[in-house]
Amino acid sequence: DAGITQSPRHKVTETGTPVTLRCHQTENHRYMYWYRQDPGHGLRLIHYSYGVKDTDKGEVSDGYSVSRSKTEDFLLTLESATSSQTSVYFCATTGDTNTGELFFGEGSRLTVL
């Protein structure tokens, strides 16, 4: 258990509204990641962080931004949600090193109408 909690777990919103998903961890992990999972695409990396205020883009970062002002919180923001951003979002960590051993949260299901 990597001590990751995601909120909200479920959200329905309308096109054009801003949405923020929160990932909270209690283990002081350095590396954190946001993925989205869609049928037919598998898991795709949106953004990642390697420390407070240190973030970078993944392969599907358009339309998303992230912030990490504290070690324990990694926020994913959709500035203006679109229907194509309907997905399940997973937060994950590899602890204090950049390995492939990801430990995931339970996911946040977002529906954009």
Partner: protein, 111 residues
């Protein structure tokens, strides 16, 4: 560009019927190949890491193997509780890199 292809997309087995899942990959310098298990409505759970061709890892009824082009996840005498989606991912040797995932194989084991 790294590519990971998993087959079959779905597999239905009877309890006790052994089989294998395939993960074919293309990557420029493999740092590691990873297997994850995902139950419905849950986040993926890490199973194995394989680093070089010829390496094998085992956990209960699962055994993962690796060649230079593919990995197999062998399931011996599966039980219904092995039903899940199994994901394969590769990690590349290239500065700072992250994982590339396959689309997964959905396994259903019937009693």
């Amino acid at each position: 560009e790294d590519q990971v292809t998993q087959s079959p997309e779905a597999l239905r087995l009877q309890e006790g019927e052994s089989s294998s899942l395939n993960c074919s990959y293309t990557v420029s310098g493999l740092r590691g190949l990873f297997w994850y298990r995902q139950d419905p409505g849950k986040g993926p759970e890490f199973l194995f890491t394989l680093y070089s061709a010829g390496e094998e890892k085992e956990k209960e009824r699962l055994k993962a193997t690796l060649t230079k082009k593919e990995s197999f996840l062998h399931i011996t005498a599966p039980k219904p509780e092995d039903s899940a989606t199994y994901l394969c991912a590769v990690h590349r040797h290239s500065g700072y890199s992250t994982l590339t995932f396959g689309k997964g194989t959905m396994l259903l084991v019937s009693p």
